[in-house]
């Protein structure tokens, strides 16, 4: 019986197990990343009371449980979409099993990967959690561009969406202008060169 089961069964005199340390360390990292309590509960399976106590201790202020993201926000903000794509890509890579989809360990790994690649991304962990949830629900899909090989989030929702972003991957549509040259390179050409096998 793992920690989350023992705590949910309210067993008071349970001994410590080897796996407990990992789970608590992951929870601590999630709490320190600024994730809201309900998301930490969904990822770790610890009781809400425990998680709230940890947030009170480490962060000091608790966020509301309100959903922070929306599909519109993802549509409007290209930089947010890029960061979410990188995060979801790392998350899916870091998963060892398909189930359960919401698991603390790949989330922590993806968070660390993003912190390494883009230290000043400034996007809250709540929004990444939102993106993961939407991927699980099937409203967002991580797709691979057939031209450049990069991954991007596509909105699969048909209803209640103002504009659909079906079409080009936003990385390919990027234009890079060199100061001295008149013609600009598309991101597609650049990435094709990066991926070229020597």
């Amino acid at each position: 019986m793992n920690l989350r089961e023992r705590m949910s069964k309210n067993i008071t005199r349970a001994g410590t197990k080897a796996g407990d340390h990992d789970l608590l360390a992951q929870t601590e990292e999630l709490v320190q990343s600024g994730l809201r309590a309900s998301a930490v509960v969904a990822l770790t399976g610890l009781p809400a009371h425990t998680v709230k106590l940890m947030i009170d201790r480490d962060v000091g202020i608790r966020r509301s449980g309100r959903q922070p993201g929306s599909i519109e926000r993802l549509q409007d903000d290209a930089s947010l979409r890029l960061h979410c794509s990188v995060f979801v890509h790392a998350y899916l890579q870091a998963r060892e099993r398909a189930q359960p989809f919401l698991d603390a360990r790949p989330f922590v790994r993806a968070w660390r990967t993003l912190a390494a690649r883009a230290p000043a991304h400034g996007v809250s962990a709540d929004l990444y959690f939102y993106a993961i949830q939407q991927v699980e629900l099937g409203h967002l899909a991580l797709e691979r561009c057939t031209v450049c090989g990069a991954h991007f989030l596509r909105i699969t929702l048909e209803k209640d969406v103002k504009r659909t972003l079906i079409g080009d991957c936003f990385m390919c549509s990027y234009r890079y202008r060199t100061p001295g040259r008149t013609a600009s390179w598309s991101g597609r050409e650049l990435l094709a060169q990066i991926n070229r096998q020597n």
Partner: protein, 201 residues
């Protein structure tokens, strides 16, 4: 967990990986500045690339070292796996080369760092070092003196440098692009997987 030196585990881990990459880039740059032809033989990269790398300022190297596409990774995975799996395996010699002290120390540090981090978390190390998980599992099982052998007579096919993906990055920097633009494109490209690899899999 790392509280003693004021850094938590993930922060220290990121510093390690970035530091390794930065060291590798500066080694490449120093070698290119000294002698392009010799550096091309030693690192197994094109002279065209080395001419670009020789002109990189420190800020650009810092930028490049954050991204796995511009990373120093074991190049030839098949023969590397064979070397780690079979104690009697003799990789084909291409040519003798003497490593400079700096490069030798870098290789030593790189392999041991990768092994130590793989012992902690194989999956995360695989993502960050851009290395297959099977290679890392093999690396953990291999005794340390065997890895030292690998490093001591490091043959060109075991070099710790991925040549494929760094040409364009260096080209962008050379063109004096906006730092934010370069960072943006590098971040985009970090999710890209080569088209050829996809076909093979």
């Amino acid at each position: 967990m790392g509280r003693g030196i004021g850094l938590n585990t993930s922060r220290r881990w990121i510093l390690d990986v970035h530091g390794l990459n930065r060291r590798g880039w500066s080694l490449l740059r120093d070698a290119a500045r000294l002698d392009v032809r010799l550096a091309a033989q030693q690192f197994g990269v094109s002279k065209r690339l080395l001419h670009r790398v020789a002109r990189l300022p420190n800020a650009s190297i810092r930028l490049l070292s954050a991204m796995p596409i511009a990373q120093f990774v074991p190049a030839d995975r098949a023969s590397l796996l064979a070397f780690l799996a079979d104690p009697d395996f003799q990789p084909p010699m291409i040519g003798q080369r003497d490593l400079r002290t700096g490069e030798h120390e870098f290789n030593l540090h790189y392999w041991h760092c990768m092994r130590a981090q793989a012992e902690q978390d194989v999956v995360l190390t695989g993502i960050q070092f851009h290395v297959a998980r099977s290679l890392l599992r093999r690396l953990i099982e291999t005794p340390i003196d065997r890895i030292d052998t690998l490093i001591l007579d490091l043959r060109p096919e075991f070099r710790v440098l991925d040549v494929q993906s760094i040409e364009v990055a260096a080209m962008l920097i050379e063109a004096e692009a906006n730092t934010e633009e370069v960072a943006h494109l590098l971040l985009c490209a970090s999710t890209a997987s080569p088209l050829d690899q996809e076909l093979q899999a």
